[in-house]
Symmetry: C2
Subunit: 274 residues, 2 copies
């Protein structure tokens, strides 16, 4: 049995801090870095990000959309990024937000989680629109491989409220946190389980019982979307050591030469506050 | 300005019928067809499906998960499938169920819709968990390119009810249909617009005002998930000529040699009923 993702995160956090470096080769970032907006540019981007991340942060989070934009060659670059990052000891959170009916989820889970995965990640993001209960293969594989499934519960954008805040007394997001908690109580009684939640770092709705999820919490879009480290600490005050704050654009803006230093500084800031 | 997706669907429907052939290389299908469960097997699978589909059906729908399972080589096979299907005059619905914050959606839309897309489809499926209002670039690109964005509103699996039926008086799925209708009224006043909905073919909740969406309706999983053509006709009685019923496993089970005939028979059955 491999170490759980929660234990591996705790070790990475103790060594470097909780920061997740978002590896998002947005067209604007490639241009600012003097790289071509094609698969070759992506390969160079991943080399630079890997060199900056290794030994500086414990986790890296590529956003699949920016690789898919370059077709199969982009996915090939993403595959290499994930493999080399894992070899360098980084935990890889693949931000794909997949989610479908059960038989299709089985194929998605096999694509990204477990030893035989085509593009192996340590954790993946999923969306729950077709039901948390259809995700058994995601959580089974994550549990078996020391991985994690991060369910988008409350997103960092205001447009998400239309679905996430719906409900009659109990909202969709509250119900999901309880559902994640139930999955974890079954798979990992008495410890943090393989299911986690994605929670926007800035309060966009009423407080949530975040501890009830019984798992880790990914807080994406720190910096570019307005959240500060102090704001993250306030939002997640109930369980600060479970938070994985992620920053991408705000760090990548430092440029290829200064990315590592910018990440180290932000990581230290988070470690002091969380 | 290219012809709209709705007009292209109407032409395909008049010629062949409304059936969408689901090109889902599930491991069990590859095994039953005597193909290897790897990227090479996928390439053979796509050749067989393309030969059966061209001249038999008007639309084809690959489910991305079954290609992603084979990594970048699987995506390369999917890319070829989409390109060759479009060259053969088929409308390609890429079932990817993407959805994220706005800036990420922009990258997903660029990946799959429009002339410069890396993997060009005529239509894509999206999920609305992070908000329909974050999907402006999807609908803009679809509108410009004669494409379509199919928003999962009511899925064909029972697990989806937890989110889709939430609400205080007005449910998430009802609100989404109205939202899709508003997008179409703005982009295509007085005609069927570039936004559509994915609606499970079997009633899993109270009746919906399907005509209010002002767009096409994809009904996935006919056959394997229990829905019959007569059931589809009943579910979509309010707007039968807007329905795109999709069948995958139930047709692929006919085997490589009989797939075309099975699809033609089912298409004729749908055309008579819808």
């Amino acid at each position: 049995m491999p170490a759980s993702f929660a234990d591996r995160f705790a070790a990475a956090r103790a060594k470097y801090g909780p920061l997740v470096l978002g590896a998002d080769p947005h067209a604007a970032v490639l241009a600012a870095w003097g790289l071509t907006d094609d698969a070759g540019g992506l390969e160079r981007f991943t080399d630079i990000v890997l060199a900056a991340a290794a030994g500086t942060v414990g986790l890296i989070k590529p956003q699949s959309a920016f690789y898919e934009r370059h077709g199969w060659r982009g996915i090939r670059a993403l595959t290499r990024l994930a493999a080399e990052a894992r070899s360098a000891g980084l935990l890889v959170i693949l931000d794909v937000k997949r989610g479908d009916v059960g038989s299709t989820n089985d194929a998605y889970a096999a694509a990204y989680l477990g030893e035989d995965a085509a593009i192996r990640a340590d954790a993946v993001t999923v969306h729950p629109y077709l039901g948390l209960d259809a995700m058994g293969e995601f959580t089974r594989r994550a549990d078996e491989a020391g991985g994690c499934v991060l369910v988008v519960v409350r997103s960092s954008n205001p447009e998400g409220r239309a679905v996430q805040a719906a409900g009659d007394g109990v909202t969709v997001e509250q119900r999901l946190l309880a559902g994640i908690g139930a999955v974890n109580a079954r798979l990992a009684p008495g410890r943090l389980g393989p299911a986690g939640a994605v929670i926007g770092p800035t309060p966009t709705g009423p407080p949530l019982d975040l501890a009830a999820a019984g798992g880790l919490l990914l807080a994406p879009g720190v910096g570019a979307q307005g959240a500060t480290p102090a704001g993250v600490a306030a939002t997640f005050a109930a369980c600060p050591d479970r938070v994985m704050p992620s920053a991408s654009r705000s760090l990548l803006a430092a440029g290829p030469g200064a990315l590592g230093d910018a990440a180290a500084r932000l990581n230290a800031e988070f470690l002091a506050l969380l």
